[in-house]
């Protein structure tokens, strides 16, 4: 049963297992263990990014394709839900219609991009996707009738998920059972399901072919696999999961705009999360996303302390100022690419393999 659930791909390192259990428990228990809106928002963001980063890992880590258009699909999902809920009212059928339309658009776009440009070298693909993503972001902010332009769309979600909805008048363990809590647990559940599906995909024979293409495309082609077809499939699958992650984001925030789902900063963040966590293993995405988002939200507090301590020293004070958190993650990113390309998870697994 457990073997089937995890598709036979276990953490394979005791430390990693503990870390993953801590992350899952932490996420599930957030409303009870860490009261306050900020903690809940951070936990929700971690869930959304676990799906998004895993889907990017499918592309980058498993197939070896560098795409900078991943936020485009994320944005399509978020805009799909946002536009449908704005125009059709806060109903479940609107949510379904929005997600459906977004998935169709994402599939079509990823198919076209894949077929046209996956034949070229990695560098060209990276550049082309960069240009396409930039054009799409401009398009989204220009079609202001549909997308709300730069301001974005604020909308109402189905009754059950809105903060006003009460499941019961009596708080459970000191936490009021409102729509926010229901959305949160819906989010956690969907995240887990999507993650396990992706785990299934990468551990299937199909996933093995993707990894073969990453290792040696020429040899994979020689063995009889049509690499262009496989790469296009990988592109489309990762687009689907990114779209779903976008839909989750819109449902959670009840808002969507170009900066929340389409901006290039998010693309950079995803890249950092995948590489720091570990490319080519989905557990790396979980670790990377959690680490990055917690750092993003809480490292600043820590750095404030350091910054105050270094108040007298001019340059050092600026280096540890809370606004410079990305500097340190950037350095960690560069070091990861050189020193441990398999990321945190790869490092932990290698340590577990070594006889001590």
């Amino acid at each position: 049963m457990v073997h089937h659930l995890f598709s036979g791909d276990f953490p394979r390192s005791r430390v990693l297992l503990v870390v993953l259990l801590a992350i899952v428990l932490g996420l599930v228990l957030t409303p009870f263990a860490f009261p306050g809106a900020k903690a809940l928002n951070v936990a929700a963001k971690i869930c959304i990014f676990i799906v998004l980063v895993s889907s990017f890992d499918l592309l980058l880590g498993y197939t070896g394709i560098v795409s900078f258009a991943h936020t485009m699909f994320f944005g399509i999902g978020a805009y799909g839900v946002a536009i449908a809920l704005t125009h059709m009212g806060p109903t479940w059928s609107a949510v379904a219609a929005g997600i459906g339309a977004a998935l169709v658009l994402s599939l079509a776009l990823s198919l076209v991009i894949g077929l046209f440009s996956l034949r070229v070298k990695a560098l060209f693909y990276a550049m082309i996707t960069l240009a396409v993503a930039a054009a799409f972001q401009t398009l989204a902010s220009q079609l202001s009738d549909l997308t709300g332009g730069e301001d974005g769309l604020t909308f109402r979600v189905p009754e059950m998920l809105s903060p006003g909805f009460m499941l019961s008048q009596h708080p459970f363990l000191g936490v009021s059972l409102d729509g926010r809590l229901i959305s949160f647990y819906l989010l956690v559940t969907v995240t887990m399901v999507l993650f396990l599906i992706m785990l299934r995909i990468v551990n299937s024979p199909f996933g093995r072919v993707l990894q073969a293409i990453r290792e040696n495309e020429f040899r994979a082609e020689a063995l009889g696999y049509r690499t262009v077809i496989y790469r296009t499939w990988s592109n489309m699958l990762s687009a689907v999961f990114a779209t779903l992650a976008g839909a989750l984001l819109a449902l959670w925030l009840r808002y969507n705009g170009p900066d929340t789902s389409l901006s290039f900063e998010i693309m950079i963040d995803i890249l950092l999360m995948v590489v720091i966590g570990g490319m080519g293993t989905l557990y790396g995405s979980v670790v990377g996303a959690t680490l990055f988002i917690i750092t993003q939200n809480y490292l600043q507090d820590l750095m404030k302390v350091a910054s105050n301590a270094a108040n007298g020293i001019p340059l050092l004070r600026d280096l540890v100022s809370p606004d410079r958190w990305l500097l340190w993650l950037g350095i960690l990113f560069v070091l990861s690419v050189y020193r441990f390309p398999a990321g945190i998870v790869g490092k932990l697994r290698a340590k577990a393999l070594r006889p001590s």
Binding site: V66, M127, L130, S321, D323, V334, V337, Y338
Partner: protein, 340 residues
């Protein structure tokens, strides 16, 4: 029997390569097509000069990028950071010499502008050297890592710039003598755009001279065509590459100064915003070709100014449209180099 045949029979035996001048025609054709569309001649002159100025600045920035790619197959996604650095250095130099930049005499303005450019080029050149050593050197021949590592280098670089200059935008006013416009009949041409065109032409001429008339240039061109052959003839292409990388970074720094003065405001994000434009330009030109890069940059500048006037909504996508059209005509860019 002419004299060249007598001195070098080998050269005589080689079939003469016809220079490919067709892409050169694109620029005048484009300008002529735009002439009736814009309506009045004076508007057309203004727009054309604006386009040329923008194109020249883009060329200054992009030329290093395309050469670096041509020589070593290294595409530097962090090229934008040198632009930002150059522009911020210019704000500092201008801040020190504000008396000179604000003064009314052209001579004093030039004295303020030249050190700004020289300082920007020197510092970005040194930073480029460090960037090549620390960031790019360890990942030669690994395209996937190169993309990620240069991206990471840009993140760190932009954050470091914020450490030194702060995260907010800094105004970069033009020196007094370059403000305002000159009138040619009814057509108004901003003085700074003339300056930009002049600087751009100077850089292009200098680069052309180095590439076609010196031994280093010969080696660079040969290296772009076939790296292994040059290496097997005993030249250290690695050193050549470092030199080209430093020169490319310095040019990006110079371009950053020009771009900052063009927009009259400098932000830490300006480099990464130009990145997409740079890639489009070097793809249009043909990866590794300086001449193609020059034409590509001018095309992009002209098209975005014409469409910006004629159809502002289309202008946002004009560069990508241009790239698609060019690639449909010549899938490897205007001038394809080597086997790319």
């Amino acid at each position: 029997m002419n004299s060249s045949a007598a001195t070098s029979p080998v050269l005589d035996a080689l079939p003469e390569v016809k220079p490919d001048r067709l892409p050169l025609l694109l620029l005048p054709v484009l300008a002529l097509v735009a002439l009736p569309l814009t309506g009045s001649f004076s508007t057309w002159v203004t727009l054309t000069f604006a386009g040329l100025a923008m194109g020249m600045i883009i060329f200054i920035i992009a030329s290093g990028l395309t050469l670096v790619f041509g020589l070593m197959d290294v595409l530097n996604f962090g090229h934008g950071v040198f632009i930002t650095l150059g522009a911020f250095l210019a704000t500092s130099v201008f801040g020190r010499m504000s008396g000179w930049a604000e003064s009314d005499s052209l001579y004093r303005n030039l004295v303020a502008m030249l050190p700004a450019m020289l300082v920007a080029m020197a510092v970005t050149g040194v930073v480029g050297f460090a960037f090549e050593r620390l960031i790019i050197r360890p990942v030669y021949g690994q395209p996937l890592k190169q993309i990620m590592i240069t991206m990471g280098g840009m993140i760190v670089g932009v954050e470091l710039i914020k450490v030194f200059w702060g995260a907010q935008a800094i105004p970069l006013p033009l020196p007094t003598a370059f403000r305002g416009s000159l009138l040619f009949g009814e057509a108004a041409v901003e003085k700074y755009r003339l300056v930009a065109v002049l600087v751009g032409l100077t850089v292009f001429a200098a680069m052309h001279w180095v590439l076609s008339r010196t031994k280093v240039g010969l080696l660079i061109r040969a290296g772009v065509q076939d790296r292994e052959m040059v290496e097997s003839l005993g030249y250290r292409i690695g050193r050549l590459f470092v030199g080209v990388f430093i020169a490319g970074s310095a040019l990006a720094g110079l371009g950053g100064v020009m771009w900052g003065l063009y927009q009259q405001i400098v932000t830490p994000e300006m480099g990464s915003q130009v990145n997409v434009l740079l890639f489009i330009v070097i793809i249009i030109g043909g990866m590794g070709s300086v001449g193609g890069c020059f034409i590509g940059a001018l095309l992009v500048g002209l098209v975005s100014n014409y469409t910006g006037f004629l159809a502002p909504k289309v202008a946002l996508f004009s560069n990508i449209l241009l790239m698609v059209i060019v690639l449909l005509w010549r899938p490897r860019g205007l001038y394809s180099v080597g086997n790319r």
